[in-house]
Structures are given as C-alpha cells and as structure tokens.
Amino acid sequence: MLDDEKELIRQLHNEDTRRDAFECLVRAHQQKLYYMVRRIVVVHEDTDDVIQNTFVKAWQAIEHFRGESSLLTWLYRIAAHEALDHLARQRRKAELSIDRERESDGMLLADRLESDPYFDGDETERQLMQAIDELPEKQRVVFHLKYFEEMKYEQMSEVLGTSVGALKASYHHAVKKISAFFGMKD
C-alpha cells in the first residue's frame, strides 16, 4: 500500500479530517468508478445514481475500512454491488411493467443506444453492447471488469467475493456467448 494511501486512510479514520479526506477520495476515483459502472448500466442518468449511492455507502462504512485491500478495490466492490442491485431492480421493474410499457422496455439496447446522445460508439460497438446486455448480470460484470478494466482475477475475486476459478469460468462463458452473438464458432 502506498504511503499516500496510508495517510489518506489515517485521515479517513480521524473524525476531524474525515470529510476533507473523503472529498479527496471521491475526486481521485470518481472518473474510474463512473466508467466502470457506466459500462455495466449503460445509461448516464442511472450511472449517476449508482455512483452517488456508491459514495454514500462508502461514507457510511469508511470507519470500518480495515485496509485489507486498496481503497480503489474497496470502492470497486461497493460500486459493483450497487450496479448489480440496480440491474436487478431494473429487471424486476421490467417484469412488472412488461404489458404497460412494452414499447420502450421491449426495445433492444442497440436501438436505444442509437438515439442516446451520450453514446459515441459505432454500429459494432452498439452490437457489442447488445451482446453484453444479453448476458446474465454477474457474467456481464465479470466481462466488463476483465475485458475493459483489464482487472486481474485476484482483484476481481476481492471485488465480487467470488473464487478465481468461478470467475474464469464465468468469463469464458461470457466470451463464448458474445462470440456466438457475432456468429463466430470455435
């Protein structure tokens, strides 16, 4: 652990310096966390909610942070769980409103992204997002963390609380499904 981080943790544990230290923490990691969450939940407004909730949860639990992982890994962990919770809530909402809001919810993600002003990808990227969107929620998160964040399995294991073996299997299945989506065969 870096000396700077140790000092930051010391300040976070001190009630007098906690608020300023937390502001430094937010400023330092907000962008990285935002893009990690954005790839998972896709829509900017939803990402904004998830990010704010992530930092609120971190603030409420900062006293109990023991430094067993880096602060960023700890924040990734909270953000990943918040993102998964968001996806689960979204799925439940979609299931409940399938008849009433069929027109908007039934749209493919790729089509929605075409009209999203905050999406800057081309057709292939839209298709990739669509392929990822069709993965089970946890596989989706594993794929993002490995493929886009290039996170090591050991760190991912700390973030998601899943064994390295299970993560490798999950990533393997995700890649196979995405390849199949693009019509690729082994």
């Binding site: 608020r19 937390f22 502001e23 937010v26 400023r27 907000q30 962008q31 935002y34 893009y35 954005r38 790839r39 900017h44 904004d48 990010i51 704010q52 930092f55 609120v56 603030w59 409420q60 006293e63 109990h64 002003p117 905050y118 999406f119 800057d120 990808g121 081309d122 292939t124 990227e125 990739l128 886009f148 890649v175 196979k176 995405i178 390849s179 693009f182 690729m184 082994d186």
Partner: protein, 128 residues
C-alpha cells in the same frame, strides 16, 4: 483462442477497443464531487452496529430453550399440584373404604350377635 478472435474481429470492424465510447454531459465530473459531498449531509453516518459473534440461529435456539424451561417451570408445579390432589384423594378413598370395611365389620358383629349365641356354641362343641 476465442477471446483473441473476438478482439481481432472487433478491431477489424473498426472498433475503438478500449477507447471511451460513453460521453458525459459537459462539466459533469467538475460538479460530481460537490454533489456527492452535498448528498452525504442528507445521509448521516449510521452508528456502528453491534455485531454479535453468536450466529443468529443459535440465538433463536437459545430463545426456544429458554421458553421451554420457563414453561416447564410454570407447568411442573401445576402438574405436581394436580398429582398431589390425586394422591390426597387416594387416602380419602381409602378412608371411605375403611369406613365401608368398618361398617361391614359392624355388620358382621351384628350378624354374630344376632345369629349365634355363646350357649349354642358350647352346646355345639360338647355334643359333637
């Protein structure tokens, strides 16, 4: 390897790969920290929860055990009392029985006195 093939396919199609494909509203990150810090005031830190080292299921089991002991403590004297009443009843019945026997004995005495005279007995004994 499938992953390598997927990467090369995406690259061949002109994908920007790890480049940022998501945009944010202008100035978003400039204000995010302030908005987060403002939100913290709405969510004060929760007091630290006391975490029991004893698993919750054990607590439930202990509660059931206490309930059983307490109900037994209340029930046993009641049952004992009931048994006590029964045993107290037994001597009563025995006493009643004794009275009955006594009455029977009285009856035999009456019978004895009424039907057999001592002289008759002496006669009976000497003649035979």
């Amino acid at each position: 390897m499938t992953e390598e093939r997927l990467k090369s396919l995406l690259a061949a199609r002109g994908r920007k790969d790890k480049e940022q494909i998501f945009k944010v509203p202008e100035g978003y990150f400039d204000t995010l920290t302030e908005r987060v810090m403002a939100k913290l005031a709405e969510h004060p830190k929760k007091p630290a929860r006391r975490v029991s080292l004893v698993p919750r299921t054990w607590l439930y089991a202990a509660a059931v055990a206490v309930l059983v002991v307490v109900s037994s403590a209340a029930l046993v004297p009641y049952l004992l009392n009931r048994n006590g009443q029964q045993t107290a009843g037994e001597p009563l019945m025995a006493h009643q029985g004794a009275e009955f026997i006594w009455e029977e004995e009285d009856g035999f005495e009456e019978l004895d006195y009424a039907m057999v005279d001592n002289n008759e007995i002496a006669y009976y004994l000497t003649e035979y």
